[in-house]
Symmetry: D2
Subunit: 353 residues, 4 copies
């Protein structure tokens, strides 16, 4: 199950330390002009080593398209692409090949498959999200032409969180700091926290919030194809994701129906709503308002400190810490959340049209 989507689909491949990651985008409409710089720019937002806050793994992450584009335009044929893994240090992992790192996928892969690729987590590595960013960049290109935009940002890192909703911030400021938080003061606090955690060889999680603007009413299917269920599945497929909610989400229980029903009114002849607790989705279908949601991420499991664990023979061992380390996934999760949102929304746009 390495395919996502129904009409617009991404099938991805690639391990952390194999020769390349990549994927196939299928179902992209024909005749879409692809701007290679835009695609690469999205990949660059996900790239390790962007700032001193993230992992120092260095990859140029250049995407190479192998099919489906001719004369700068999509042809309707599947778009195959690869991104080389330049930074392969397989030898780094020899002493890890029989050890189960806590809260990693080592143990479960071994249970499921009877063997595993120990190099950097193999398929469970977040390196796999490279393919999502490529497909997401293509999806964004199509959506942009339809007036649909997607913007995510860090709304919480550790215990530092934005108090307001997305409407309270200028989201254009998101890319102005290393943590991708649109509130300068909070961003500064988040950066300080990440630096402190990094210094401890520890890691910290957070929350990414996302808003989709310009989506037409009618996206999503009742019952088992609800738009928010598809968005939830998309987000929960991202490494380290622990939760998803939309609209007032986990706060909804605190409101009475009379308090958070979104009242309709006549807005100069148009039907509009006085509030949007629904998060732009009612009965599983978009209503034309902004769609907004949150994704919770745990602290990454790799630490630069010793941990107790066992090997495959149940021998207790001390996991030695060394090498590269990403103290907080949130800044790099921002473009991945956007990418998965774009893939999901475009799929429903194509189903509807």
């Amino acid at each position: 199950m390495n395919t996502f989507g129904k009409l617009f689909t991404l099938t991805s491949f690639g391990e952390s330390h194999g020769p390349a990651t990549g994927g196939i985008i299928d179902g992209c409409p024909a005749g879409v002009a692809i701007d290679m710089d835009c695609i690469q720019a999205e990949l660059d937002r996900r790239r390790p080593g962007q700032s001193s806050l993230t992992t120092s793994r260095r990859e140029s992450d250049r995407v190479e398209f192998l099919s489906g584009i001719y004369g700068g335009m999509t042809t309707g044929a599947p778009i195959g692409f690869t991104v080389k893994n330049e930074n392969q240090h397989s030898d780094d992992y020899n002493d890890l090949k029989d050890v189960y790192r806590p809260s990693h996928a080592d143990f479960t892969y071994q249970m499921k498959y009877g063997l595993r690729d120990p190099r950097g987590g193999g398929r469970s590595s977040a390196r796999e999200t490279v393919a999502r960013c490529v497909a997401g960049a293509v999806a964004k290109t199509v959506l942009r032409q339809k007036g649909i935009s997607i913007q995510a940002y860090a709304s919480q890192i550790g215990n530092i969180r934005l108090d307001g909703s997305y409407t309270d911030y200028d989201l254009n400021l998101t890319e102005t700091n290393a943590v991708r938080c649109p509130d300068a003061q909070k961003a500064s606090e988040m950066e300080a926290l990440v630096r402190k955690i990094k210094g401890e060889g520890d890691s910290v999680g957070g929350v990414v919030s996302c808003v989709v603007k310009g989506a037409p009413a009618g996206l999503g299917e009742p019952v088992f194809g609800k738009l928010h269920a598809a968005l939830g599945a998309a987000m929960l497929s991202i490494n380290a994701a622990k939760g998803f909610d939309y609209g007032d989400g986990f706060d909804a229980p605190l409101f009475k129906g009379s308090e958070h029903n979104d009242e309709f009114f006549n807005d100069n002849g148009n039907i509009s709503v006085r509030s949007n607790y629904s998060g732009g989705i009612q009965g599983g279908i978009s209503n034309g308002q902004d769609i907004y949601f949150r994704v919770a991420f745990k602290a990454v499991a790799t630490l630069l400190r010793e941990q107790k664990t066992v090997d495959k023979n149940a021998n207790e061992v001390i996991l030695k810490a060394r090498g590269r380390h990403d103290p907080c996934v949130i800044p790099r999760a921002v473009p991945i959340v956007e990418a998965m949102a774009a893939i999901t929304i475009l799929d429903f746009v194509l189903i509807e049209n």
Copy 2:
């Protein structure tokens, strides 16, 4: 998109006020003895009118199986079933046919389809979940034979919430009160709250927590078929669901990696973990520990009080309140959450085996 699942699937049909709801269960293993009383018991847990807390709509909700079972055993053929809608009052809805009820699916269905069945919300009615409970009961029957059990309960209604995790309660007490909460004191507070809200003609939401015990390691697929992503999609497909998380979920950001990594140890020769913040799922795959998750539900949109809204021509109108009303979905959501969990887990069991 009225089909859920990959190998074990439910396809459902039926509107609130049509002659019947029902569905087709496909992919059920052959040779499973079906206890009709068990199936009906699950349906009865979902049935309206069980207690004074829920809607007074009266339905006997008797399931009739039309195929796929012979001599009390499943044959491997699709299991078709229907449940009659006894309580049809289509005339009740004549004055609603052009009105968009706030935070209902009336507006979005009209935008999507250009017309809608106005009787009781039509397809968007929670009546559709009848089919899920039937399929869930069949799935539970199969899972029980494999030693897998599923137990959900109300962990929050309005601002009254359980402070502990599922391990702090005797979940066998869940069915001893009308709100399905395993803590008698909290249950009593929740009941009082629901009664008060009902008296106000208002509604209130809450959270259902669920635990799956006995699931083997190895369920779930890396990347786009992660077990928690499938569970999330399943839960978010339930009416009024607003969020999903698993393990420490939305609390995860508050922990450092060193605090919530689940340390492996040698437990008398077996590999075990000292904690289960992962919620039984690592890298998208079950690790043999308890799987636990939460689902947030909003207050239902139907109120027994007047609300401002508009009709399809954007005329502002006052929505008259009358008739039946379910002030809180949480008690009846408990069996639905279990049903969707059972359908999802069984699907992965079949994929794995």
Copy 3:
């Protein structure tokens, strides 16, 4: 796998001698007026006991719609329906429950499932095609509005075959005789053959040809979603089907490229073709010409004569012949071929639009 289609889907259920057969049609566009008489008329074409040539099983085969239609119009919700099995004689099959009838599915079902419903072949009975005719009738209704028509006919029964292609006959004559052959002389010969075979307690197969007119260019997907591959899968899913070809099909090898390439020419400003050996499909995609194909059917396995066989314990037994018997499936296969063609073509129309 009892679901067919991608966007317009049929999921069916029902055994020969259970209480009912039926299905769920999902993905039907909203706002389509459904003429119940047209639907029933399609079912009547499939009904047993229409003429003295077919099985004498008597069923009124009345379809009951349970959802998805409101005020005579489709709503976009799934269309659930049932057709009662009136003619249940389960006792007839007691002495067959351990016997493997030659060339039936008795043996393979037992191998696959470890048990089987012996009543009339259970799920392997052609009674299942009732659901296809209902879905096909709905699909035809939608296609008719788009100017697409589908017409099948008997082109061969036993060794009596039509020499010409569909363009040589007036297909409106198809329904004027009991074998559904548009050539009166051949129809008469076919009828005589079927009567003779019936008198011998034997059975005979044949070929159904089908033509789709009015399909726009552009239906079908390159590579794995070729239109003719989908049509082939649809036709080969019909009971007793043994082969499928389109255009010049199995005769194609006899032509050189220079002989059967379809030359384009300028037809008063429009691009047209001088021949249609391609059968309206080039590169897997419709080209706007008539789509035509053939389906071969074997003689049905049920005979009214004794046959040698074994029971489940490998004891050799004589299969006693008695009861009802359909000497030739071809006349009743004609509407089923049309139904499956309609379902398939509509699915691609919806994918394309």
Copy 4:
């Protein structure tokens, strides 16, 4: 729709003259030893320029695996691979970019997508089947370990056809001649025919027959997942395929039920059949006998002679013939038929197990 299969899937990409073709194999069991030489050998069987009978396009067709294999073993992760297109002569196609070649996909692609990649047919080129051969070779590797073998051969080219069934020949002789026909005399006649046709700048079609040995009883699903329907869809997805039948196929109508029912008998305690007109499939499910089927192919549309046609503006033009040309696809279709059979059969083996 560039994905084939349900649990074992191939998603392919690549045009005739892009930088590479390739694909992703998903769902391959973990722990399968991959012999690179065996994989390459299958690709070599499909490779152009093998003999003087086929196209002179020269490609080394070296497959490069990018993921999913570690230490020579499959890991359960998706297997990404590429095969470079070495022989790109895009300039050859400049004068074809507005011309619709007869019976090619030029016209239909233009109608569907509004534009097309004119280089060598783009995505409609048989070059795409490279990916199928790679996936088929992997599937064969898995099947071999389960005792299942697949063998195809040329049974007809033009009007020269084998009179017998597969049981009349030593299929080990198939690879001993350039046309891949197990009858030396017929092979010689076929070769002479192809040479003659080639000399005329013309092309000729034929039939590939295939037999699957060792498949267990129980593969395939009743109704819409019938084994022969899946095989049919697989075969009809191959370029230039015009028809598919299995068992006695299109000859079935010539037999009475009493003549071709496959009588069961007690074969030293085991249940066996005296004939296999069913082609190893009864009721859509394998019965443990040999599975055999045929695929008809038309003559390829590319000719080395002038043809009349039109350009996109409906101007009548003479299509100039030049360059490379494959007078008969049959020899190279043999490994492709095997590959698609292997992919299909393995998928059902995995579904069943």
